[in-house]
């Protein structure tokens, strides 16, 4: 299966910053990396979260997934298209937000 790697380390400036924050940042990052196009090409998106990243806020995650959810609608489907590579804590954080997006898009 083809994969497309995204490295969130690009979005911080260690050692000065360790927080990834901002809905706009999430949306812009997804757009700049052409995430939807890669998904449509049949690639699995791998989101790599380096240990230097200490916090990702919910708004960034919602911004990143907004176009993906508009198209694919459910967390079950989105989870087949996007994989999180990072600590269990970050995986839980992404899960929580995907669950919330599922409720919103399927209300």
């Amino acid at each position: 299966m083809k994969t497309y790697n995204l490295n969130l380390l690009e979005l911080i400036n260690p050692p000065h910053t360790e927080l990834i924050s901002g809905r706009d940042l999430g949306e812009t990052f997804a757009r700049q990396k052409e995430v939807l196009s890669h998904i449509e090409n049949g690639e699995i998106i791998i989101i790599n979260i380096d240990a230097k990243i200490r916090a990702i806020n919910d708004s960034f995650i919602k911004g990143f997934f907004s176009e993906i959810f508009k198209k694919y609608r459910t967390q079950d489907k989105v989870k087949t298209l996007v994989e999180i590579k990072g600590s269990e804590d970050f995986k839980s954080l992404f899960d929580k937000n995907l669950k919330l997006l599922d409720i919103i898009y399927n209300a």
Partner: protein, 414 residues
């Protein structure tokens, strides 16, 4: 009169003419200076300068031009704290601004503390004073302030980025310029301070628990960073005219608590739900709530439409930008959830316009079916129902108006 200006009989007509010209010039210059200071109805001379637009707006919205003679002695009555008594913080700020323009231009005012004063209140007072000092010679005398508070005030430099770590307190302050440049979205200085403040909280717990190797768990570390991030994201999204915001972390070693204060001038929270471009779905929800409240005669002196809108804006999924993306409107509720993950004894106060919302462990966020879906809601009543009146101790209609948003979070470390 100086010798050079006295016209003598022996002076030639040319010399007389030149001396007279000089005298007239000096007289005109002195008159111009005098004209810059006009008279207030109290008989005091009004200083003819303008504060920055945001502060002028703050003054105008509170009609301080009609406040009559300003008082030199400004009393801080009761607990001067944003959470306990926001009116008692906003009033002295306005009195200081009023005195600076219409009071004695030579004698400093005196701030007299009758009970206690919180860090947030001191920070705001300091901010206002630095603004005044940028226009005129200015100082404030402090009476009945504790040594610890005098120490804090003397260390405050709220107009700039600085760190101060003295015996009783540790302060990290930043005036954050809101960067709206799409191509420079990484350059958000608040993220640097978010890390420093998070590490300050970690240090505070290490000191309080006498455990130098203590590390904040992921959720707590992430929560503090995220809370700061969420607020600055809100400023960027909902206050398009705000050029900056203030971020301050304060560790009080004596009280063993950490304060995080964030504020900005700009739109109030209620303003964001009053825009003409509001999507239909949001307008319907707002109209529904307002109509329900009106029908039940809820809107009286102690609960207004603005209070209701501010409370509504806090609920999950309520946002003026919902048409851009239906997953918007989570910033404030995420912020509150994160804060209470840190410590259930946390206190948050949100002040915007004439509304103060005080959040503590007396009411919690719960999921409810409202406006066509399940959402996280905090309504400050027994049923957690946003269609019912909130507890007036938690949603307070203020006597004064703040043109922007202040959020103060106090986290006990015990």
């Amino acid at each position: 009169m100086a010798k050079g200006f006295i016209i003598h009989k022996s002076d030639s007509s040319h010399v007389r003419h030149q001396k007279q010209k000089l005298r007239n010039k000096i007289k005109r210059s002195a008159q111009k200076k005098l004209n810059r200071i006009s008279l207030h109805s109290s008989g005091n001379r009004i200083a003819f300068f303008s504060y920055i637009a945001e502060i002028e707006h703050f003054c105008r919205k509170n009609n301080i031009m009609f406040w009559g003679e300003p008082r030199r002695k400004i009393y801080l009555k009761g607990k001067c704290s944003l959470h306990d008594n926001p009116n008692e913080v906003l009033r002295p700020l306005l009195e200081i601004l009023h005195y600076a323009k219409c009071g004695n231009q030579v004698i400093n005012p005196v701030l007299i503390c009758k009970n206690s004063i919180s860090f947030g209140a001191m920070h705001l007072i300091d901010s206002i004073c630095w603004e005044i000092a940028s226009h005129r010679k200015w100082g404030v005398e402090f009476e009945n302030f504790s040594d610890a508070n005098r120490d804090i005030i003397s260390n405050l430099r709220t107009f700039k980025s600085y760190i101060s770590n003295s015996g009783s307190s540790y302060i990290i302050n930043e005036k954050v310029i809101i960067n709206r440049d799409e191509f420079d979205i990484l350059n958000q200085q608040y993220k640097v301070k978010a890390k420093e403040i998070t590490q300050m909280v970690q240090l505070a717990i290490q000191e309080c628990s006498n455990n130098p190797s203590y590390e904040l768990p992921f959720l707590a570390y992430s929560a503090i960073n995220s809370t700061i991030g969420e607020h600055f994201d809100n400023i960027k999204q909902h206050a398009p005219n705000a050029r900056s915001g203030i971020l301050c972390g304060f560790y009080n070693r004596e009280q063993k608590e950490v304060d995080i204060l964030i504020f900005n001038f700009g739109n109030t929270i209620a303003d964001t739900l009053l825009v003409n471009s509001l999507p239909n779905e949001m307008r319907d929800s707002i109209d529904d709530i307002i109509t329900s409240h009106t029908t039940r005669s809820f809107f009286k002196n102690n609960f207004t439409k603005e209070n209701a809108l501010t409370l509504l804006a806090m609920q999950e999924g309520i946002s003026s930008k919902i048409s851009d993306d239906i997953s918007r409107g989570h910033g404030l509720i995420d912020y509150i959830e994160h804060c209470f993950k840190l410590n259930t004894g946390t206190k948050i106060v949100i002040i915007s316009g004439r509304t103060a919302i005080k959040i503590d462990n007396s009411y919690s966020i719960k999921t409810k079916y409202v406006f066509n879906r399940l959402r996280r809601v905090i309504a400050f009543n027994e049923d957690n129902d946003i269609y019912l009146l909130p507890n007036s101790s938690n949603v307070v209609n203020l006597n004064y108006y703040f043109p922007g948003v202040i959020i103060e979070t106090t986290i006990p470390l015990s």
